[in-house]
Amino acid sequence: MASEIEIRLTVNGEPVVERVEARLSLVDFLREKLHLTGSHVGCEHGVCGACTVLVDGEIVRGCLTLAAQADGSSVTSIEGASDSGEIADLQAAFHERNALQCGFCTPAMLLSADALLKRNPAPSREDIRLWLSGNYCRCTGYHAIVDAVASVAEVRRNNSI
């Protein structure tokens, strides 16, 4: 029977071996097996973006990726990205600009924003809105989020010169 499968992967830098149900999504695996509850489960069909995590350095939908498919991969969740300090500037900017209220979308928003800035260090406000269109926020109206991402983009550009 292959309705259960053993997976070996790296999560936030640490090796993990677990036996999982085939139907377990990656985000449920992180939350329920590893108790990493910073990744959130919203719509469960790929629309809201709250489950965003990194697989081998690329943002993916945690609800549209099976834990089984992450076998052999390196997964980074908001806990790993936060602990490493690599998105501390984005976190501070979100805080300073009130770019969150309830916080449900925030972990995924931070990972998506960081992915944008790594790909395009000088995004326009329209670029930021387009990129983040796959991450829903029901509190802020997005304006403060775009402000925060734009300000970090500028600081990172200045620091890299």
């Binding site: 309705s3 085939a22 139907r23 069909h45 965003t52 549209l64 089984a68 498919q69 387009l130």
Partner: protein, 283 residues
């Protein structure tokens, strides 16, 4: 919701994939999973077995071969966005991919998955139709090629048999003087289209040659607007000719309305997109 239970099978080759499909009547192929897993989460699909083909490295290749651009079934939308072969030969695909869903979905969704699923509102089936693409399918009897015009047979229906795997799609790389246009109307960035249009045409001395207009989200499958194309073929379109093409478009399309967008609105929007596409093709 969570998907119904299923068995997970990892295929290491096309042969193994075919063996799995042959052994299990209710099996489904898992590529990027960006539509299939969503449908399973909503219990709109409940396969007994998932055959994961994502480990078959041969299916990830993008190459040129005897004048065709050949895209393996596992080429992802993000690969179409960034491939220099695609940018140089068929930039229409790069443009379509860059507006398809959202970055996190483009990192996993595949062209083979999109074509095999044949969602009538999907972007890539219409692009392949506009580009005169050919789909390669492998079954027990070998590999056959199916022209895009005969591949899409209805909503979520294709010419693939139950025991065939879509392995690649090939599109002729056009000669010089070829123009492309990609237009999509959606309520929000990344949503499925209300109506969309992928177009290709030759342009010589301001005249359109053999234009192909493939609409999506306008019928139960991607549709070539042959009557509108016939009006425009060989012409240097002015306002009067474009209006005649828009009138002819009514013979090509018979859209079905959806909540928030009636059939009449879709027909109107299809005309809007045709005008935009022609302007871009000759611009």
């Amino acid at each position: 919701m969570k998907p119904a239970p299923f068995e997970y099978l990892r295929a290491k080759s096309i042969g193994e994939t075919l063996a799995f499909l042959g052994a299990h009547d209710e099996a489904a192929i898992l590529a990027g999973g960006q539509s299939l897993l969503a449908m399973m989460n909503m219990r709109a699909a409940a396969p007994s077995h998932l055959v994961d083909i994502s480990g078959i490295e041969d299916l990830r290749k993008i190459k040129t071969e005897s004048g065709d651009l050949v895209l393996g079934a596992l080429v992802r939308h993000c690969d179409l966005e960034t491939s220099s072969l695609v940018a140089d030969g068929l930039p229409l695909l790069a443009e379509a991919a860059s507006q398809l869903a959202h970055p996190a979905i483009r990192n996993r969704g595949t062209i083979g998955g999109s074509l095999a699923l044949a969602d009538p509102a999907a972007e890539l089936p219409a692009c392949i139709l506009a580009l005169e693409g050919t789909i390669e399918a492998t079954g027990a009897a070998g590999t056959r090629r199916i022209a895009a015009e005969g591949f899409f047979t209805g909503a979520f229906a294709t010419a693939l048999t139950e025991n065939e795997v879509l392995t690649a799609v090939r599109c002729p790389v056009p000669v010089k003087n070829t123009r492309f246009s990609y237009e999509k109307l959606a309520r929000r960035h990344g949503d499925y289209a209300l109506v969309g249009l992928a177009a290709r045409a030759g342009l010589r001395n301001g005249r359109l040659e053999a234009p192909r207009f493939a609409f999506f989200a306008a019928a139960d499958r991607p549709v070539l607007a042959r009557s509108a194309a016939a009006v425009l073929d060989g012409e240097a379109p002015d306002a009067e000719i474009i209006e005649r093409a828009c009138t002819a478009l009514r013979e090509d399309l018979d859209p079905v309305g959806q909540p928030g967008c009636s059939a009449g609105t879709k027909m109107h929007l299809a005309g809007v997109l045709l005008r935009r596409a022609v302007a871009r093709l000759i611009g």
